[in-house]
């Protein structure tokens, strides 16, 4: 609680949108270092391993970009809903169901030309993901049921539903483990390895594949939707000031539904990456926490595609570098990085204004001094 008053117009955009988030991130990482220390390992060593694991060799970097792909989807998903003041914690479940959509389309329409299958599979991902977000959206708008709780419940329900389907309905009957048959090889999305092979470059396997380009495209799509279309405009109006939106003739209900469904659809695209691009089948639990990480990515990236891209990349580094750490340091498991996410959400979200007045006033004063002299 500070009594520092800052003239907001004099604060340069890069202070509010780059410096302050960086400071928040540093705080989170600092506390993470403490946790690593408590777990009995050297934080500095951990940082070195993270950097090596994610950049140090091509295969590692490819893995980093693969994770980034997933985080872009789930980060965008959370951000879109957030612009309408909705906390969509259901990315995990929406991704899972989206994956179901991808698989069902791909396995049943595999006779069509490959690019058509891809397009339809993407559509399937979006529709299924959106459908899974629809009920929580409707209940929030019409019944006031808080979307945080309902989407978390839908995560659990998705998990149960998918396990049921994988065990009883669409299981590969030649295997005992709960997963589906593999999709025919023709419709697999080309991997980075395969594409480089075409160019004559030989690299080792990584899950990075063409979906990465879809993720980049999604960044543009979301940017365009939220800031360049009438729907994005209305969503943001409802999110900022519902009363004023009504005055302007904008329907809160319509926009809540649209925001959540697009959000669910984006999360569903994760299924395209995992199923069409990596494992080529549905494996139980494939969303693997990416949905939750998306929340941290979005908050760190301040819910804007320009911020989400580097944030997703950072988390890609954390994940890939993190797996290097968990490999080399027996005391650290991947759950440590879940804790890091929590810290990032805490410092970038709930406590984002902790040091903002001090930082902003520092820069305003500094700049004034420079101008005067």
């Amino acid at each position: 609680m500070s009594n520092i008053v800052v003239d907001k117009t004099k604060v340069p955009w890069w202070v509010s949108n780059v410096i302050v988030p960086l400071v928040n991130l540093s705080l989170a990482l600092f506390v993470s270092g403490i946790f690593i220390f408590i777990a009995g390992e050297n934080p500095i060593e951990a940082v070195k391993l993270i950097i090596f694991g994610s950049f140090g060799y091509i295969q590692g970097f490819a893995y980093t970009l693969y994770y980034t792909t997933n985080f872009i989807f789930t980060g965008l998903a959370f951000a879109v809903a957030f612009h309408c003041r909705l906390f969509n914690i259901g990315g995990e479940g929406q991704a899972y169901i989206g994956g179901l959509g991808v698989f069902l389309v791909a396995i049943n329409l595999s006779f069509l030309p490959v690019p058509i299958v891809w397009l339809l599979a993407i559509l399937g991902a979006i529709l299924f993901g959106a459908a899974w977000a629809y009920i929580p959206a409707y209940l929030q708008s019409k019944r006031g049921s808080h979307v945080v709780i309902t989407t978390i419940m839908f995560n659990f329900i998705a998990s149960s539903l998918m396990i049921y389907l994988l065990v009883d309905v669409i299981r590969d009957t030649n295997q005992m483990a709960p997963h589906t048959v593999k999709l025919p090889e023709e419709i697999w999305l080309p991997s980075f390895e395969a594409l480089s092979g075409v160019l004559g470059i030989k690299i080792r396997y990584s899950p990075l594949n063409l979906t990465f380009l879809l993720a980049i495209a999604s960044l543009f799509f979301v940017w365009f939707l939220i800031w360049k279309t009438r729907w994005g405009y209305e969503m943001r109006a409802v999110g900022h000031n519902t009363q004023a939106a009504i005055y302007a003739g904008i329907s809160p209900h319509k926009n809540i539904i649209i925001a959540m469904c697009i959000s669910g659809g984006l999360a569903g695209l994760l299924g395209v990456n995992e199923i069409l691009g990596v494992s080529h089948k549905i494996q139980a639990g494939f969303p693997a926490g990416y949905g939750f990480t998306g929340i941290a990515v979005a908050l760190m990236g301040r819910n804007h595609p320009i911020g989400i891209l580097p944030a997703a990349f950072l988390f890609g580094i954390l994940y890939q570098g993190g797996s290097e750490v968990t490999f080399e340091m027996p005391n650290i498991t991947r759950y440590m990085f879940v804790a890091v996410q929590g810290l990032i959400i805490l410092f970038s979200g709930a406590l984002e204004n902790l040091f903002r007045p001090q930082i902003e006033s520092f820069f305003v004063n500094r700049l004034n001094r420079e101008v005067r002299s």
């Binding site: 907001k8 360049k228 009438r230 109006a237 000031n241 004023a244 939106a245 005055y247 302007a248 003739g249």
Partner: protein, 507 residues
Amino acid sequence: MVSPILELKNINKSFGHVHANKDINLTINKGTIHGIIGENGAGKSTLMSIVFGLYQANSGSIKVNGNEIKLRSPKDSIINGIGMVHQHFMLVENFTVLENIILGFEGETVFGEKLKKAKKDLKKLCETYNFNIDLDATISDLSVGFRQRVEILKSLYRGAEILILDEPTGVLTPQEVDELFKILRSLKDEGKTIVLITHKLIEIMDLTSEVSVMRQGEMVGHTRTENTNKEKLAEMMVGRSVLLRVDKPEVEKGETVFKVKDLTVKDDLDVIRVKNVNLEICSGEILGIAGVTGNGQTELLEALSGIRNVESGNIELFGETISQKDNYLNPRMLKEKGLAHVPEDRQRMGLVTDFKAYENLIFGYHDQEPYSKSSILNHKEIIEYSNKVMKEYDVRPSSPNLLTSNFSGGNQQKIILSRELNEKPKVLLVGQPTRGVDIGAIEFIHQRLIDMRNKGAAILVASVELEEVLSLSDRIIVMFDGKIVGEKINKNVTDRELGLLMAGVTE
């Protein structure tokens, strides 16, 4: 015999740039009913909030019974025998009367003996002052008049010797007002001191023995009620005008385009705020509604612009009857018919302060050409339009990309005005057009409204600033207590006449 119980010396209070109380000196004598009168924004509520410990004065001193004390919080004030009945009641809706009164003064951790004693004591108090309240009733079941009694009882129970009431009669029926006055008189007879904040002259003349007048943050006069009259007080309240009147050429009035018949509107608490109002506006005319805040203008404008439900009555736009109880709530439809609305509460309703200026300049019209085509916003067109209107309406700074929250109140208002006027509406409803707007912008806004009227628009302006109403209107109606209490053509009307009507004194 008469001794001061409350003395305020050189009280100053500012909120940011707004100097709400300027060097106030005030002496309240024990055992009197002392009135504080003034228009909106005069600073009366701020002053009394300082006395009640809700705000801290920037400078100055307060003495109670001759002892200088620091009032850092309501607790300090309560200990010193000061109680306050606020304009918006400080009651917990789903608690009982008893629970509301003992809140903070329970006297015990577990409800037991003290609670029973409290109930007994309160029953006695009720009998003494003839309050007739059921202590076990839930607040949400009580009428507004009874809720106010609970507030008074609360202060008395906490040992108030000085009771401050802030605009107490705004929400009461005439009968309830009579009963309140009876209660206040008997309190005075018991030796309590009452401070009555009001804008209604009749209450001052009826109840008080001393009256202080505030205007624009200053204490401008103090007199014994017996030595003054309504006219003198009205003049002190309203003061001499400093603003220039804008040039208003004679314009031929057109047809009646907007008609309101027997309109009755309730507020969010289900209290009737607009009572059988009838009015008409012709094209090429500005109809001004004068009146102090809280007399129904807010609810009237909200009903007319389609944001609030209508209890009964009719609205006719270009001869077409629109309001049936629930069909009217359609701002979009009204916009299409050529009705625009500049709301009273610009931050809550008229703008999204987190949007950039250009985004607010298309607010409500964002899906229409040329701002958007097949749902895609045409950025270039929007910026071009924004630059044009921001220059035209002298919005400063004239950068469309600046966040709206960074504009001053006056410039925010200009943004809203430019947006609505640019659509060339045929009917324009405006609430408090220059509230929180600096002097330079006021003239500008007024000129724009007159320009619209010259071009044939029918304009309704509701304002608590009498100067503004006189400056703009062709015809003036005065609202008091939800009704229209007077209508005058704006030729040779005086402040005093209107001030009297605004204060509830009918001819």
